[in-house]
Amino acid sequence: MKRFFARNAPAYVFLLPWLIGFFLLALGPILASLYLSFTRYDMVSAPRWIGWGNYEYMFTRDRRFWKALEVTFTYVALAVPARLIMALGVAMLLDKGLRTIGLYRAIFYLPSLLGASIAIAILWRQLFAADGVVNQVLAMVGIQGASWITDPDTSLYTLVVLAMWQFGSPMLIFLAGLRGIPRDLYEAAEIDGTPRWRQFTRITLPLLAPVIFFNLVLQTIDSFKTFSSAFIISNGTGAPADSLLFYTVYLFNEAFKFFRMGYASALAWFLLVIIATFTAIAFFTSKYWVHYENERD
């Protein structure tokens, strides 16, 4: 034990800033919020212990909680596949066409980086507003567009479309994965007369499965946590008619609008459970569909 520390001391010195940050800024608040989730706390008077009260209220009496779950799950179910398909599509185009030039990759990444930003969310709001660009274009071909964002039937889909445009980081990971597939596999397939579509389904997809898996887990977690775009487009309320009441938006309102810190903490912990569950499912099912090149059996 002593030897271990002696030998690794320099490593710990370098890790120190991170360790301090982790314990003070991450682990501390995490544990505090776990405690708070069992209390009633309005940030003025001291937290009061109420046991499972918050969780009980959440599952049995809070209709907005269920609405938030519904909105968030719908969004995740649509946005994650949409984004991954978009990311894979663009990655394949880049892998084929613009093989050499790194600049193009940066250009393609750019809107995605912006896509995550608040500015783009605001821009999105104007694009899809009742008199926004989208409707103006539709009007030119004689279609009367809906007021996409203020109509509860369509508002969520505008966010799914926005999510598609945030394909940047999964796209880069796909691109790296595609580059890792030896070209001569496709050449062998080509000589053997394999149609492009079969090359894609029988060679590209199986060999890309570990990367798809990685992106799927990452994007699922990310999408459950979607906040800024929903917050901005719904003016921070989840309107219209709670159709954009994302889980995080609801949590934020409970915490910082109504100062129900204890309840908000309970909401946060349940979100953690959801994300952990999905990650676990993905992990334990992966062996049935992911081919790892270096696995041993």
Binding site: P182, D184, L185, E187, A188, A189, E190, I191, D192, G193, T194, P195, R198, R202, I203, P206, L207, H291, E293, N294
Partner: protein, 364 residues
């Protein structure tokens, strides 16, 4: 099965010309080997035939049909890659069947062909393994099996044995040769290993810098190399090269080589003064020949079946002599070194072969 014709075939990458004006007629059922140093364009040429690279100039025809604009899949050929290119996520069985399933081949027929290929290549017990669970030689067999099941009219091989160790290479070489004997399909085989080329080919193309240096049977290449490059490239240990001067006089030409006695030849069909003489190590001997010189043993390499002697002439040039291995020379020994005139190859100052008429009396 089909023959192959190349007419003025060229390949350019941008301004860079990789292959220029290549003409070749490959007979139906021939085992053609492409050899040449690294980067001479062997793979490129093979890939042009396969349809993996487009043809910048000229035409390629397979079985009398121009295939320039035919996609790879329609050329009825199969290719074995140096890297094997096995699909890593599929079992051996699926690897073998995959290509067939693209053509209108019935399930029963696919099974029959896969089983047949597995039997020929003795990989029946490996059918359910994944490529990563195979040794190099086994992977190689699967790769060959994958091309056999297609029953193509033309087989292409790009250095299929270069990733194997020496022993396995010899074994696979023999297996490929017997496979060829049994199928009789036209094969084009790329290698930079001249032993592979010599042992397997019905004819060899020696390529250098995208041009054909010589095209002929292994015997022709060995006994009558058309230029210095082929002379040096074919044959192991490497041929000896000697600078020589030719002096014309009455009744013949006198050839002089530094460190050896002058000798006369009847006729030299060139005006060049500077010649290069080549003689194979196996044609040199320690002792007397038609021409005999003096030398000193510099190095003895005992190889078992033969001994390679490095012998320095008085001029300082070192010649390789292949000795039968039953003699025992040591470094520093002064020895006689001899060769017979018919074993000499003559090349002019541009490195092209010249046929020399030997002086009858001396060649006795």
């Amino acid at each position: 099965m089909a023959g192959l014709t190349l007419r003025n075939v060229g390949k350019r990458y941008g301004a860079m010309s990789i292959i220029q004006g290549l003409n070749l007629d490959i007979h139906d059922g021939e085992f053609l080997v492409l050899v040449g140093p690294s980067g001479c364009g062997k793979s490129t040429l093979l890939r042009m035939i396969a349809g993996l690279e487009d043809i910048s100039e000229g035409t390629i025809s397979i079985g009398g049909k121009v295939v320039n604009d035919l996609p790879a899949s329609k050329r009825e050929l199969s290719m074995v890659f140096q890297s094997y290119a096995l699909y890593p996520h599929m079992s051996v069985r699926k690897n073998l069947a995959f290509g067939l399933q693209n053509f209108k081949v019935s399930g029963a027929e696919v099974e029959r062909r896969v089983a047949e290929a597995a039997r020929i290549l003795q990989i029946e017990q490996l059918m359910d393994r994944k490529p990563r669970q195979l040794s190099g030689g086994q992977k190689q067999r699967v790769a060959i099996g994958r091309s056999i099941v297609r029953e193509p009219q033309l087989f292409l091989f790009d250095e299929p044995l270069s990733n194997l160790d020496a022993e396995l290479r010899v074994q696979m070489r023999a297996e490929l040769a017997s496979l060829y004997a049994r199928l009789g399909t036209t094969m084009i085989y790329v290698t930079h290993d001249q032993v592979e080329a010599m042992t397997m080919a019905s004819r060899i193309v020696v390529l250098r810098g995208g041009k054909i240096e010589q095209f002929g049977t292994p015997q022709e290449l060995y006994t009558r190399p058309q230029n210095l490059f082929v002379a040096g490239f074919i044959g192991s240990p490497k041929i000896n090269m000697l600078q020589a001067k030719a002096k014309r006089g009455a009744g013949g030409t006198v050839v002089s080589v530094a460190g050896m006695p002058d000798f006369a030849i009847a006729e030299l069909p060139t005006d060049d003064q500077a010649l290069t003489l080549c003689v194979r190590p196996s044609s040199l001997r320690v002792g007397n020949g038609d021409i005999t010189g003096e030398g000193t043993v510099r190095l003895v390499e005992y190889l078992g079946s033969e001994t390679l002697l490095h012998i320095a002439l008085s001029s300082g040039q070192v010649l390789l002599v292949s000795d039968n291995g039953r003699t025992s020379y040591r470094m520093g020994d002064a020895v006689k070194i001899g060769f017979d005139l018919p074993d000499l190859h003559y090349f002019d100052s541009r490195g092209q072969r010249i046929e020399v008429i030997q002086n009858e009396s001396q060649a006795q």
